[in-house]
């Protein structure tokens, strides 16, 4: 039997394709990562099918590239060496919503849109990155360590236990889901760690190179009962960051983020492009957004003490911060933004990153918040060298864990249909990441060519990673050519 026929046997002919048009769709995405064509696409429905696919791939030394979303921005699911695309979008069941323990177990094909909708019915929400694409896999976004907008929960990291098929073809459950017979067990899968090793850590950020995750447990939170969205225009980023150092240690608020005028305009504009241009021109350089919320009990009292804390601090220590229910000149922006922070991007609206020019190359990294203004300057300098209009750079600073760190994100918008633009942005991107890395920007999610830059500077880490990879994937079939493999 040929590989093709075996694959068809595993998933059924309807869920198999080697049609060039179909293959072509998987060969590229919204990133600048060069196209790479797979040989086959399969859409399994069960973990047993996934297992058989991997076993077959091992036998034939064929690469397997897992993908769980129908939309990609980072190039991780573009095959570098051909092989089989294992498209898990059919594995889209929400398996359990565990209200007592505030946990959802869902397959990797569950989209943000579906997850948010179904959880809302029970009064729950899932911690989210900023306005994720509705068709992205919620599990995979967490597995890939997308940074969430909520800063208040000390325990962070929603990801708990998972089911994975190892590159050698074994089905395995991590954490407390590893008990025999799970979920038919007293164990609910709430502990991500163990057994024996912290397998979940090896799977995080792995871009599908360590195995195929089929479902995961994630922490969910109650929906808030009352919210107040506060804004502050920001002229002085350093000053505002100091303010955040002060207030975020007090465990107030739910979401807290900084957006520059371009990104905020791209998110908030309704009538496109007029609203966008107007917003971009009139919004302050940066805007601080802080959402205060009340929970199940005495919610107004909670809001009150949080507001009092803020008032005191602003009065006594940060008098230049003008934190208010609304952004002067932008009535109703709070009403607009709260759903954006609590829901994925609306399905029917072109994705905010693609609305402006069609393409967007994001540069994101972790850093100390105080470094943010300098990094912003660096990116502007690089952009200027390429004649790229600084106004077209979107900026987003996401404080993390009481503002002890932050994720900085620069969104470089461009026209993907213009070869000139594409090449310019590609070169700009290359230079920018190089400059940023040399100044301490921490790229913990090295997609595409960023991986070469990162691992060349972290040879010790790369060596150890390869040794671990060898154990789990001796034939190097899982998404080869990715990370440092």
């Amino acid at each position: 039997m040929t590989v093709k026929s075996k694959l068809r046997e595993i998933v059924g002919t309807d869920n198999f394709s080697d049609d060039p048009d179909v293959l072509n769709k998987y060969s590229k995405d919204f990133s600048l990562v060069p196209a790479g064509v797979p040989n086959y696409v399969v859409k399994p429905k069960t973990v047993e099918e996934v297992q058989k696919i991997i076993q077959l791939a091992n036998k034939n030394r064929l690469p397997v590239v897992p993908t769980s979303s129908s939309v990609h921005f980072n190039g991780a699911a573009i095959p570098k060496q051909g092989g089989i695309i294992a498209d898990l979008t059919r594995m889209n069941r929400i398996l359990e919503i565990d209200e007592f323990n505030r946990r959802v177990r869902m397959e990797v094909g569950v989209t943000w849109e579906k997850a948010t909708r179904e959880l809302a019915k029970k009064g729950f929400r899932l911690m989210m990155p900023l306005a994720p694409h509705p068709m992205r896999s919620a599990v995979i976004d967490h597995l890939e360590r997308e940074v969430i907008t909520n800063t208040v929960y000390d325990y962070g990291e929603p990801l708990q236990s998972m089911e994975v098929v190892w590159p050698t073809g074994e089905i395995f459950r991590t954490g407390s889901a590893s008990v025999a017979g799970y979920p038919d067990s007293p164990s609910k899968g709430a502990n991500p760690s163990g057994p024996g090793l912290d397998f979940y850590r090896l799977l995080q950020g792995a871009q599908g190179t360590m195995g195929i995750v089929t479902w995961a447990n994630l922490k969910i939170e109650y929906m808030t009962t009352v919210d107040r969205v506060l804004f502050a225009p920001v002229d002085d980023l350093d000053y505002t960051i100091d303010f955040l150092h002060r207030i975020l240690k007090l465990r107030i608020g739910q979401e807290c983020l900084l957006l520059d005028n371009t990104d905020l305009a791209a998110l908030a504009a309704e009538n496109w492009p007029d609203d966008f241009e107007e917003l971009r021109a009139t919004l302050p350089p940066w805007t601080l957004i802080l959402v205060l919320s009340g929970m199940a009990r005495r919610p107004e009292e909670k809001l009150k003490y949080e507001e009092n804390m803020l008032k005191d601090i602003i009065k006594n220590e940060f008098s230049e911060i003008q934190l208010d229910n609304n952004l002067p000149g932008f009535p109703g922006i709070g009403r607009k933004l709260l759903p954006l922070l609590r829901q994925p991007w609306p399905k029917k609206t072109p994705y905010w990153k693609n609305r402006y020019l069609g393409g967007c190359q994001s540069i994101f990294f972790i850093t100390r918040p105080g470094m943010a203004p300098q990094f912003a300057d660096m990116v502007e300098e690089v952009a200027a060298q390429y004649g790229y209009p600084v106004d077209d750079i979107g900026g987003y600073i996401q404080p993390i864990e009481h503002n002890r760190a932050c994720q900085m994100q620069f969104d470089i918008f461009y026209d993907p249909d213009s070869e000139v633009d594409v090449e310019l942005v590609r070169s700009l991107y290359r230079d920018a990441i190089s400059v940023l890395a040399s100044q301490g920007a921490l790229f913990t999610r090295p997609y595409g060519e960023l991986a070469d830059l990162v691992y060349e500077s972290a040879t010790g880490y790369a060596t150890a990673l390869r040794r671990v990879k060898k154990v789990f994937d001796p034939n190097n079939i899982m998404n080869p050519g990715t990370l440092c493999y």
């Binding site: 323990n101 590893s178 792995a206 007090l250 009990r297 909670k302």
Partner: protein, 531 residues
């Protein structure tokens, strides 16, 4: 007992003659037991040895060199921070090198970015005090303030304060790990820069090699430096007061408060924890086992037994004490709010506040963990599990039932179903089952019970922290994952093919069962010939 002369000379050249010794008196000082955590039991008697040589490095570079020399001369070694964890942290084979890391006590702290960088020689109370001076705090693991912060962060790292702060795994930031072949892996941001503030890996996260649930006992390398996340605290001082043995921290009652509540039932405690979590209030929520109260009240062992002997199954069954910690992290007003909400909850459920001392010696500085040995001289936790509250309660109850078959030699606890608490604002629950025995009597029953709990976990599908090196690997391996042991051993084989790093861990308990004649009848699982 000694290591080869050639190896000794080379090692001496690395650290200087003042910091190495194979003198039998020095080495005897590093004997595991007979007293200590899990000590006096069969595992300690059968599996532990006095080292052949002890060395005290100062830097990561020295540790690397030492490990490379061990590889060259095939000298087995074990890393040792304080030796507090008992036999599993001591030498297990003859002529073994014990690498005592206590000199590696460098310390830096960055309160703005909420982390401290420590060497293996820094213990929790040092770190906690430095953190608190700067308006921060950490979780001091249940093992107590005397734990090496790094060692505990690799194998434990939780306490009732985990209610808000959660799993220790994500408090491990930039870390240096000397692999069993002597190569150095820097993890987190240290992989790329000389700044340990961030913990995530570059792509795949190699922190996965550090601990599993409860640690690898050093069989996969030696951590020499770790940045540990701090959490923001409140600004008032917790004032040390009293003279030994009655020392305690005076809590600033406007910002930090423990409140004990008597509750009508165990279920009501669970409900209270659930409601607190739903309301997102509190900084700690734990059941109080009654015999701990007896320890706290007793001024000596005899007084403890005087108090304890008055208890019975009836009194235990009816004793439901919930201890809640409130911290006004942000303001007094916040604390007042939380106290109002807490009272709403307790009133609804039918609990009652008791007079509670405004002091703490147990959790912020955890100065009294050694009191676990007061009662009997022997103690071990046969399990401590983070899962959910729904797992925690039946887990403890199951053990209580099982324990009856092994009492004596275990201390009578009148069916107490162990300790449980809420973690991560209710996303997780914790249960721990502690047992005590008289080490000067026959302890075979304790060894049996210890292993039997592992089998019970498998039978009943409980998760457990006692995997990996803690129980026979070939027993637990097939039952969890399944076959997690295969991966552990494969990773071990990749990084330590000569089995020099703390041999025979992770197969030590397997070996114990083979070696100890009173354990052999318990072996009803398959395993290959042990290396």
């Amino acid at each position: 007992m000694a290591i080869s002369k050639e190896a000794y000379k080379v090692l001496e050249a690395i650290v200087g003659d003042e910091y190495i010794s194979s003198d039998p008196v020095v080495c005897e000082g590093y004997r595991s037991g007979p007293g200590g955590y899990e000590a006096g039991l069969g595992y300690e008697r059968v599996m532990t040895k006095v080292p052949g040589c002890v060395i005290l490095p100062l830097t990561t570079e020295e540790v690397q060199k030492i490990v490379k020399v061990c590889n060259r001369y095939k000298v087995p070694y074990v890393p040792y921070s304080t030796g507090w964890y008992g036999p599993r942290s001591h030498c297990h084979v003859d002529d073994e090198l014990l690498i005592d890391l206590k000199r590696m006590d460098d310390f830096e702290i960055d309160e703005k970015h909420l982390y401290a960088v420590v060497g293996s020689g820094v213990i929790y109370s040092q770190l906690q005090e430095e953190a608190m001076k700067r308006g921060c705090y950490i979780i001091v693991g249940g093992g107590g303030s005397q734990c090496s912060a790094i060692a505990n962060m690799l194998g434990d790292g939780w306490s009732p304060l985990s209610y808000r702060i959660g799993l220790p795994h994500r408090r491990i930031l930039g870390t240096e790990l000397v692999l069993p072949d002597g190569e150095l892996v820097k993890m987190g941001s240290l992989a790329l820069q000389d700044d340990p503030f961030w913990g995530d890996g570059l792509g795949s996260d190699l922190r996965g090699l550090l601990r599993g649930f409860t640690g690898l006992r050093g069989c996969l390398g030696i951590v020499t430096k770790m940045a540990i996340k701090l959490l923001p605290f409140q600004p008032e001082r917790l004032t040390p007061t009293g003279i030994s043995p009655h020392t305690t921290l005076q809590l600033p009652s406007n910002r930090v408060k423990w409140i004990n509540f008597t509750m009508p039932s165990k279920e009501s405690m669970k409900k209270a924890m659930f409601e607190m979590a739903r309301a997102e209030i509190g900084a700690g929520a734990t059941k109080v086992p009654i015999f701990w109260r007896a320890i706290a009240k007793a001024s000596c062992k005899e007084e403890y037994w005087d108090i304890w002997s008055k208890e019975s199954e009836e009194t235990i069954k009816d004793f439901h004490l919930l201890r809640v910690l409130l911290v006004g992290f942000g303001s007094e007003e916040q604390m007042e709010y939380e106290e109002r909400v807490l009272n709403d909850i307790i009133t609804e459920i039918g609990g009652e506040a008791r007079r509670t001392r405004p002091t703490d010696e147990s959790w912020f500085k955890n100065a009294d963990s050694a009191g676990m040995w007061l009662m009997c001289g022997g103690y071990v936790s046969v399990d401590y599990v983070i899962e959910t509250l729904e797992h925690a309660l039946p887990h403890g109850e199951n053990y209580a039932e099982l324990k009856k078959k092994f009492t004596p030699p275990l201390m009578p606890d009148y069916g107490d179903p162990g300790w449980f608490q809420s973690f991560e604002l209710g996303h997780q629950g914790y249960s721990e089952f502690l047992v005590y025995w008289d080490p000067d009597e026959n302890t075979d029953g304790v060894d049996h019970f210890y292993l039997e709990t592992s089998k019970e976990n498998i039978r009943k599908r409980f998760y457990t922290s006692l995997l990996g090196p803690h129980q026979p690997l070939y027993l637990t391996g097939p039952a969890y994952g399944p076959n997690y042991h295969k991966w552990m051993l494969a990773v071990k084989d990749e990084f330590d093919p000569n089995f020099l790093s703390h041999p025979p861990v992770p197969l030590a308990h397997d070996e114990f069962v083979e070696k100890a004649e009173w354990m052999r009848p318990m072996k009803d699982w398959k395993s290959p010939k042990l290396p």
